[in-house]
Symmetry: C2
């Protein structure tokens, strides 16, 4: 399981033929009648198969064509650095007890609790029932010495001594899941893995997922099961890679947006899906892993840091934590760009957040030739007269354009006057083609694609980008207005998230998506939510900080902000911010 | 489901024909081919059926012949009195919150926690995940008013307001299960029900159950499932009888001996089944009902009071609690007679317990014509010259003899010199028959039973009784010796449990099973364990008392007591205690 997302329009039923792969080496199961129907004989003979039909019978090398990928493999799981603050919620201790005999018939539990108190000065009140089930055999097999893992006055696990104390941190994104295996004692990251969120087959975005959960009685159960299975698979893979036992994972932290959080926990989402978008729960949760079917140590807890509001979740809190933002920071903006873009302003002792419906354009959605940042995606664009210079992911043949590419293209087109401030594509450039009633700017002409249609930026794409950037700019503007700040007063702007890592900040400033600050005030931090999840995994005080952040953060509902619609429309202009950030 | 245990030698496979019942009124399913094979046509025509084959199609009145009963229906579930001390662990509160809107987008959890603190002064830190799942719909359906049930800083359930707060107390015996439904607010008992412990099909006594649990991997799982299902069935029946919803049961208490406790919780029993008989856990436990699959409110807890030792369990603690014994009591003995008899001595500021392997004789086991106290069981015996006067359960035709009957018979036979002090049955009484190499004393001659074999007390039965009573007397004696007390110094003796309720104390004194005290010093308390379970259900301070009782109680291992075997042999003599209680 490499965590590569394949297109499966039919849902894996072998009817769409979209999930073609080519066997390079190794053995797959026999070809099926479905494959004989959907794959030309010549291709079949050269190893082309349908991923939904073929089962690997050995280690295989498979070539996946870019068109079959649902999305990028650029899942951000980097950040292998050790976390600095280590005060883990679970600590493990060697305990040796007096052997049982007719002159000492105390319960095993009594033996352990007494010794833990006497030797380590740790007074536990509770022995988890699953730990109690393991204890008698471990004590006798270990010649009356065991490792005891303690969390807030409770023994959550017992194991042989010595053995490792591991933790799992998960950033459960709508599209991607990043998971990290950490040593709870040292804080060292032992491994990192990414996977697509398999809920994606029930809908690409949050709204589609919520709709699925509400569409039928088992909908919510299905979504929860998909997420939990993916997390469990990642845990198993990480443990295998590190050569450790998944049952030694003694604590997990999962961060996600509020919808992912609710769907994972099977909390009701009806009230979250429609105005006033009220979460069932925003406070931090500590749940027994078994209660949500997460397969780590059976008595372990899963910690879920707090959400701020219906559309500002724990992933944003984790990002703020990792970015070092506090209410006492100098004026500072943190932006997590996605289908939903969360923005937080720290200023004047306050933390204020907004959520902007920026839409899927930055992820290639609703863009004619849009795609995620997979090989073949145009990720950067430079226009030089009639020439167009492209940077393509993995230097592959360009097959589409991803978010950072569209952003560059729009900035370049605006700079060169091919697109005007209201977003109209001029017909007066040799690369502009008429297509139907509209125009498109050709990045890769049909002639360079063996006669296949060109890869272009269309007039419709430009409208999508205008809406997306206007949403973000309006959010930023509303926050600045709320604190009566000018954009230039911002000491720094943090851009987090996968998309934000790859964009050219100058392009974003040029079209008025980000405020016009000196470039050195911007920091592109990658998967800061993942880093925040790791911080809360190994540090109790980091958890307190996250809770404090969420408690202090005020949520500003854009729909109720003054002049929201007027400002939004103004912000569709393709030009740098002017006054008051807008 | 009346909780009537039927004989099922074949395990319900329709091959033994033992489970015959007769339909008096109502409708049952069609007769099966198995029934046509095993029941004579004449009987079939008169409504005789096999319980394993027939399914009720309406309310039915069924006659169960005594031979088909595995055991008595005299399950002690009486004690409908209200409990005096009411400080329940769960309290319910009406909470009305401000409605959600675009100007108040707080999470439902936040709304409830804030209001509960502001209005009732109750600061909760935790909202159970299942309660959180129920909350949004209940809030909106209830026009922003709900009932919130709180337990130690945690909201364990939410429900419509008003609604009842109920509790379930269970005495999980090896043979019988007694369950009580209580109103947590008033302490009133709303209903009581009994059932056989269905684990019985895996073995009649504790040792057989432990053996089954260890015999194969799924053994422990099977036993736990049987017990849990029985508890759940009782809860459903009690709730139905009382016209309430089982999901309004917000707390449960289960007491049992240590083996029943471990088997219910699937705690390991290997170390409990062999010397030095060490429990995995003796401390009180508070487990989420869902963790042990008990179907009450999903976020509710099951409280399991503490055990004292491997063979002195929480049922004994509950009995001590109900009996009002404390370490400061005047010298006082409490005896719970069963296959295993637990005895506790309170004296001199100490509580000391022993466990005596008294065997199944008092429950009719290993007694040739023994049976449990079901209709047809001889429960009291009086010998008057050649005449024998019998008291039979339900005044039915006598079909066997139960524990209290055997005890009486032995006392009478001893008093009349038919049995001597060493237990030998004289041949010189007209009712004594030679049977094989041995003798038997006939209670119901064959002539009165239509030619069927007589109902008798055999020489072998007497030997069984001697072993049983010697075990108890030796336990009592060891306790008295431990505290350097004479039997006569005991201010009172409590006899608890089903068997203890029905015995004639004089008979027990006559054969030297109980100490020779004035009868007014004895108290037969019935199912005191059930009463203790109810007390701990509705009172947090009673729970503390139970924990304190268990903590103070010292367990004395008889096998390591001085002269144990010599004393035991001496105590097989059929005569009242002499010195030092022995």
């Amino acid at each position: 399981m490499l965590g590569v997302g394949l297109a499966a329009v039919c849902g894996g039923h072998g009817t769409c033929g979209r999930c073609r792969v080519t066997l390079i080496s190794g053995w797959l199961s026999e070809t099926t009648s479905i494959e004989h129907e959907l794959i030309p004989p010549h291709d079949l003979a050269h190893g082309v198969r349908l991923a939904c039909q073929a089962t690997p019978l050995s280690d295989c090398v498979i070539n996946v064509s870019p068109e079959s990928l649902t999305t990028t493999q650029r899942i951000q799981v980097e950040g292998l650095q050790a976390i600095q603050r280590i005060d883990p919620p679970v600590t493990s201790h060697r305990v040796t007890v007096p052997p049982a005999g007719l002159n000492d018939m105390r319960a095993d539990e009594d033996r352990i609790l007494t010794e833990l108190s006497a030797t380590d000065g740790i007074d536990c009140k509770v022995l988890d029932i699953d730990a109690a089930r393991d204890l008698p055999r471990l004590l006798r097999d270990g010649d009356w010495t065991v490792g005891v893992s303690v969390r807030g006055g409770e023994i959550v696990a017992v194991g042989p001594w010595p053995s490792q104390s591991l933790g799992l941190a998960v950033d459960l994104g709508t599209t991607k899941i990043a998971a990290y295996l950490l040593d709870l004692t040292t804080g060292a990251t032992l491994g990192a893995r990414g996977a697509m969120n398999p809920q994606i087959r029930y809908g690409e975005d949050v709204v589609a997922r919520l709709t699925h959960a509400l569409s039928r009685p088992e909908g919510a159960e299905e979504l929860a099961a998909e997420a939990v299975t993916a997390v469990n698979d990642l845990a198993v893979s990480l443990a295998r890679d590190a050569g450790v036992d998944p049952s030694r994972i003694l604590e997990a932290v999962i961060v996600g947006n509020t919808a992912m959080h609710h769907l994972l926990l099977q909390l009701p989402v009806e009230q979250l899906a429609r105005a006033p978008y009220v979460p069932a729960v925003t406070g931090a949760l500590d749940l027994k892993a078994r209660d949500i079917r997460v397969d780590i140590a059976r008595g372990a807890y899963v910690h879920l840091p707090p959400n701020i509001a219906g559309f500002v979740g724990a992933d944003h809190v984790a990002m703020l934590l990792a970015s070092g933002i506090t209410s006492n920071s100098d004026p500072m903006l943190a932006i997590d760009i996605g289908t939903n873009t969360e923005v937080c302003l720290a200023a004047g002792g306050h933390l204020t957040t907004v959520s902007c419906a920026s839409g899927p354009a930055f992820e290639g959605g609703h863009i004619r030739d849009g795609m995620r940042a997979a090989p073949g995606a145009i990720e950067h664009v430079k226009i030089d007269g009639d020439e167009v210079h492209l940077q393509v992911v993995d230097d592959a043949e360009p097959t589409g354009i991803c978010g950072s590419g569209i952003l560059d293209a729009l900035a370049e087109l605006t700079a060169h006057g091919v697109v005007d401030a209201v977003g109209r594509l001029s017909a007066n450039h040799p690369r502009v083609l008429r297509s139907g009633k509209s125009h498109e700017f050709v990045l890769v002409p049909s002639t360079q694609r063996g006669g296949r249609p060109p890869v272009s930026v269309t007039q419709g794409d430009i409208r999508q980008l205008q809406l997306a950037k206007a949403a973000i700019a309006t959010g930023v503007e509303a926050l600045l207005a709320h604190e009566r700040l000018e954009a230039l007063e911002l000491s720094s702007v943090i851009i987090a998230g996968a998309f934000g890592t790859y964009i050219d900040i100058s392009s974003a400033i040029a079209i008025g998506m980000l405020p016009p600050l000196p470039l050195e005030r911007f920091r592109q931090t990658g998967n800061a939510a993942g880093v925040g999840a790791k911080m809360t995994l190994v540090s109790t005080s980091a958890r307190s900080d996250a809770i404090e952040l969420a408690r202090k953060a005020e949520y500003l509902e854009l729909a109720t902000a003054t002049d929201f619609m007027k400002r939004f429309v103004d912000n569709t202009r393709l030009a740098p911010y002017t006054s008051h950030g807008g």
